[in-house]
Amino acid sequence: MNQSTLSDLITSSKQNDQKAFRKIVEGYQSMIYSLAFRMLCNEEEAKDTVQETFIKVWMNLSTYDSNKKFSTWIYAIATNLCLDKLKSAKHSFQENTIDETILNVISTDNVEQSVINAELGNIIRKLTSELTPKQKIVFTLRYLEEIEIDEISQITGMTPNRIKSNLFLARQTIRRKLEIL
């Protein structure tokens, strides 16, 4: 989606044009799903987060500053939602059981992708289970989503130095895990 098209869609969406907003959803939902899945390691939670993110986007579109990158703004909303979920007591780091994987496979036509997601979720969960929610957020943004530190700073509101120290600690923890394997 190029910048001028996106600007037009945002302007129309601000005027309650749901068709325009649908195009924004279609353009960005995979990106947000990828981020949420890598952070939460659970398909259902990731999908819920995508929904909540776009509802927040729709509600707060009038506050969006067009001088900033739209993807950064939408990432910030999704990251905050993921952080809330990671901090909540309900969130668990339990592995996907075979039953859950089977249920996912039944409910989808794309079996291959569903199996890949389940395995990927298990690997990321195993590696990052000992990270704090903030470490997990910066780790995912930097190493899995490959976002630059300056942009992570804009997304999370953390200073670059704090991001670097969180990344350092996250790497150490994960390396220790790898040594055991």
Partner: protein
């Protein structure tokens, strides 16, 4: 040291592979529909800009009216106190109108009181002007 370097390399390799393997949405179309449905169902209350403007204008108007009222009150008081300060003879004016009776009546409403007040003010002003003319003459 070499073991550590190897571990770092392994970690980098793993992270690179993980970043290249993006989780995919198995039912993107359905998710879009759900999002749009939730937006339609909720009829999400956008912060209505028009309402904000109406509120702001009403507030300003109320403040302006209050200010005008207070200003008018002060002016009346100033006029009443002027003869004393300037050494002119004190003139007391009694206005016995129907309006004043209404003021004391418990049934009278705020609007009637205010209208009465304006009426009184205009009578007072006329009287002051007449007296002022007379004094000048």
């Amino acid at each position: 040291m070499k073991v550590m370097e190897n571990e770092e390399e392994r970690l980098d390799m793993l992270l690179q592979k993980l970043s290249k393997t993006a989780p995919g949405l198995t039912d993107a179309q359905m998710l879009t529909e759900k999002i749009m449905q939730r937006i339609k169902e909720k009829a999400i209350p956008r912060k209505p800009t028009i309402l904000i403007w109406i509120r702001a204008i009403s507030c300003s108007a109320a403040i302006l009216l209050l200010g005008l009222f207070l200003f008018q009150q002060n002016e009346t008081a100033a006029i009443a106190s002027t003869p004393k300060q300037s050494g002119r003879p004190e003139i007391r004016i009694n206005i016995d109108s129907e309006c004043l009776k209404n003021i004391n009546s418990p049934a009278s409403n705020m609007m009637a009181l205010y209208m009465c007040h304006l009426q009184q003010n205009s009578i007072k002003n006329k009287l002051y002007k007449t007296i002022d003319q007379q004094l000048k003459n």
